[in-house]
């Protein structure tokens, strides 16, 4: 379980807080979505949850970050990595560039932990299987499609055996086929017990994946709740977020005074 209690974060040298008084609990196996306009704090939230903020990028953090009840303050980054993985939106800049095959790429993390080779191989194979990309094991990671690269990135994180994954707009740079590939894999990953926190603009994607959604506005929670309610809420567009296609259509139809009756 990952919990943020009244967390505020300021980037180094920044005048304003990027995240304000943020409280959230991510339970085991849950999938929670985060939406918000650009620069509303989605990426900052991801960096804070993963521990990179402040450990890697500096800045000041107040409040508490707890994993299964333990305060993570002061724990080094390589320890955080065993609890929470973070996936970014750019598929290529997450590759280590020193792996000739996907297998080596995914093994990179466990190797860093100094685990013995059998354990590394076990974790790598298991991660590849969980994401359904076992067939890519011998491929050159730089030659894959965007969607495949993202899955390799996630596999690389899973091999660290975290129980939580934070994803910062993982499908933003992918084509529709890539988006579907990643969405399906994330869904099956959630079913196997990993907790996911996904920040996205694509509300259609979140509608199919998340049980809860949090709406961010200038670094603080504007409102939150169960997915269907949050995404159908009229305030969504005020906060700069495009509603899912079905909600948008319904609204358009109803504003013309008509009624939309969709057969199941």
């Amino acid at each position: 379980m990952l919990a943020l209690e009244r967390v505020s974060y300021r980037y180094p040298g920044a005048p304003r807080l990027a995240l304000r008084d943020f409280t959230l609990t991510l339970n085991d196996g849950e999938v929670v979505g985060v939406v918000g306009a650009s620069e509303s704090g989605k990426s900052t939230l991801a960096l804070v949850c993963s521990g990179l903020a402040p450990r890697s990028i500096g800045g000041s953090l107040t409040g508490r970050l707890l994993v299964d009840g333990d305060d993570m303050q002061g724990r080094p980054m390589h320890e955080m990595a065993a609890h929470i993985g973070i996936c970014f939106q750019n598929p290529t800049s997450q590759l280590s560039q020193v792996a000739a095959t996907v297998f080596e790429e995914v093994a990179f993390g466990p190797l860093n932990l100094g685990l013995d080779r059998l354990e590394v191989a076990r974790r790598t194979t298991s991660a590849l299987e969980k994401l359904g990309i076992g067939s890519l094991a011998e491929r050159d990671p730089e030659r894959l499609s965007g969607g495949q690269m993202q899955l390799v990135a996630v596999a690389g994180l899973l091999a660290m055996d975290p129980r939580h994954l934070v994803l910062d707009e993982p499908t933003a740079q992918l084509d529709p086929a890539g988006k579907r590939l990643v969405a399906d894999s994330l869904a099956s990953l959630a079913r196997s017990g990993t907790a996911l926190l996904i920040a996205e603009h694509d509300t259609d994607l979140l509608a199919g994946l998340c049980s809860r959604v949090v709406v961010l506005d200038t670094g603080a929670i504007a409102y939150e709740g169960l997915t269907p309610e949050v995404l159908a809420d009229e305030r969504l567009t005020e906060f700069g977020i495009e509603p899912p296609s079905d909600v948008a259509l319904r609204r358009e139809v109803e504003s013309a005074g008509l009624h939309l009756d969709l057969p199941a």
């Binding site: 650009s38 084509d175 529709p176 086929a177 603009h201 358009e252 008509l258 009756d261 969709l262």
Partner: protein
């Protein structure tokens, strides 16, 4: 006015990859065209022929009177301005203002004329108040709007946008939709390469679908997204926009846009 004409256009990248395999098409001045297809279908390769960045391996591309293989890119840029997908592979200036002025200045505009062009472009993307800001102090989606502003300031009769809505939030998408509409009203040609079929259906009068270097469908959204065309779309790994699927489920005919669904329900 400039038309773009492609005749038997074939293009092979060094290394033998055939990206375009006999493309025949023309775009009339003032049209709003969207080019769609999955990654690798040739859509980006095609639009890079419009300003001469790529020259045909065989076949011809003409922009107005100019043969693209015989004209310098810097000259074609006066007719066709192309905004690339990744803003971080273009932005170099220290201020929003100079970045936007770059293209227009290259085309020879100076003084008041130049600052008017820059002002106008910044207003249309909503960055009017950020003239002195360092582009890297803006977030990704606003940097993208910045590159589009830079292209708008060039005031060319033809504007090409490569994946303009990728990575944009709602506000960004609305701004781009307004720009496309305004360009159309001004009689300028707008060509967009996009994955976002909702954006395409709602804003363009013509959709060109590509697969493996060839055009497989070319027509208005009502035709390209109609149920009969779905097998073709799916063969290129594309799904029709949501509005079209609803129209099909309710037996309303071809309804590529939200407005068309409303219209169909009203009748």
């Amino acid at each position: 006015m400039s038309d773009i004409r492609c005749a038997e256009l074939r293009f092979e990248y060094p290394g033998g990859v055939r990206a375009l395999d006999g493309v025949n098409m023309s775009i009339r001045a003032g049209e709003r065209v969207a080019i769609v297809g999955q990654n690798g279908s040739g859509k980006t390769t095609l639009v890079r022929h419009f300003n001469g960045l790529l020259r045909p391996t065989s076949g011809t591309v003409t922009v107005g009177d100019a043969d693209s293989s015989r004209t310098r890119v810097a000259q074609l840029a006066a007719s066709v301005a192309l905004a690339f997908q990744d803003p971080d592979k273009q932005i170099f200036a220290g201020s929003v203002e100079s970045e936007v002025a770059f293209g227009a200045r290259n085309l020879g505009r100076r003084g008041q004329d130049l600052s008017d062009a820059v002002e106008g472009a910044l207003e249309s993307v909503g960055l009017g108040g950020e003239k002195r800001t360092n582009p890297y102090d803006l977030g990704y989606s606003r940097r993208k709007l910045l590159t589009i502003a830079s292209v708008l300031a060039m005031n060319t009769p033809i504007v090409v946008l490569d994946e303009p809505t990728t990575g944009q939030d709602l506000r960004g998408v609305r701004i781009i939709e307004a720009i496309v509409k305004q360009l159309g009203n001004d009689g300028r040609t707008v060509i967009a390469v996009s994955h976002d079929l909702r954006f395409v259906a709602e804003n363009f009068e013509r959709v060109v679908v590509m697969r493996q270097g060839k055009i497989v469908t070319d027509g208005p959204p009502e035709q390209v997204f109609a149920e009969e065309s779905w097998p073709t779309l799916r063969s290129t790994n594309l799904e029709p926009p949501y509005a079209a699927t609803v129209g099909a489920r309710l037996g309303l005919g071809s309804t590529p846009t939200l407005a068309s669904v409303v219209e169909a329900l009203e009748s």
